[in-house]
């Protein structure tokens, strides 16, 4: 088994707000991130796929294919967007880094052909990142 990771960057704005909370609860739980005008980040995405090395090509995955899927499913949807208003998942979910990583996993997993998705890592800043390993990942029931 070989693991291959491809990086991409996107920039987007968001804010954190739960309509079920009072204004005070939103301010207390989400702090500065609750500003309804939004704020932005340069996100770094790392997508790791795993698989056997194809004896003919020497590849785990066709990198062009992986890059195209990441561009179409993630970057076109999220780059230079206001996540709360322009990305369907975040009309009903708060666009935290946790939920962004899960949304990216669910967008990519069904589109990959030869290789299997192993990990999605999303950096919100260099000092904060989230990993997800899917519904069958480590620690899942």
């Amino acid at each position: 088994m070989v693991y291959l990771t491809r990086k991409a960057e996107f920039s987007a704005s968001h804010f954190y707000h739960n309509p079920a909370f009072t204004a005070e609860e939103n301010a207390r739980v989400f702090g500065k991130c609750n500003n309804p005008n939004g704020h932005g980040h340069n996100y770094t995405l790392e997508v790791t796929v795993k698989g056997a090395v194809d004896p003919t090509t020497g590849f785990v995955v066709d990198l062009k294919h992986l890059k195209d899927i990441m561009s179409r499913e993630v970057l076109e949807a999220m780059d230079h967007r206001f996540l709360n208003k322009e990305v369907p998942e975040f009309l009903t979910q708060i666009p935290t880094t946790e939920n962004i990583a899960i949304a990216i996993w669910r967008r990519l997993a069904p589109k990959l052909k030869s290789a299997q998705l192993h990990r999605v890592r999303v950096y919100e800043t260099p000092d904060l990142f989230v990993d997800v390993f899917g519904e069958d990942g480590p620690g899942e029931a």
């Binding site: 666009p95 935290t96 946790e98 904060l128 997800v132 990942g137």
Partner: protein, 138 residues
């Protein structure tokens, strides 16, 4: 789906690697430059990883402000700008980054209740890093 959140922190400290269980010559052979009796220092980078289900109400695995405050008050204040060798936990243990990693894991495990602690990783320099997941307690 579980999500694993990692936060990075930094502190600076000095240490000397020297074991009472080894002779002077063995210490020099084992630890090399790190056995210098006057000690030396590093900028340590700590990565704390917590994991769990994402809370549907907040979209978060844990409250980051709580995690930051816990690490600041219990880890950074304890170790930043200190000589590790004089601290209680290194009275009988050599303050290698392996042992430091275990000590920090145990502190965060004891003090942080907001989510499951998955891993502590420390970069001693850009070239070495150490990880502890609580598997083999010393």
């Amino acid at each position: 789906m579980k999500a694993y959140l990692t936060r990075r922190y930094m502190f600076s400290a000095s240490h000397r690697l020297h074991s009472e269980r080894l002779t002077e010559e063995e210490n020099r052979e084992t630890y090399g430059k790190c056995n210098n009796p006057y000690g030396h220092g590093h900028n340590y980078i700590i990565e704390v990883t917590v994991g769990g289900a994402v809370d549907e109400r907040t979209g978060m695995v844990c409250d980051l402000v709580e995690l930051d405050e816990c690490v600041r008050s219990h880890v950074l204040e304890r170790y930043d700008h200190q000589n590790l060798n004089v601290l209680e936990e290194f009275a009988a243990e050599v303050p290698t980054t392996e042992n430091l990693c275990i000590s920090i894991y145990e502190i965060v495990k004891r003090e942080f209740r907001g989510a499951h602690l998955q891993k502590v990783r420390i970069e001693e320099t850009m070239m070495n890093s150490f990880e502890y997941t609580g598997e083999n307690n010393r």
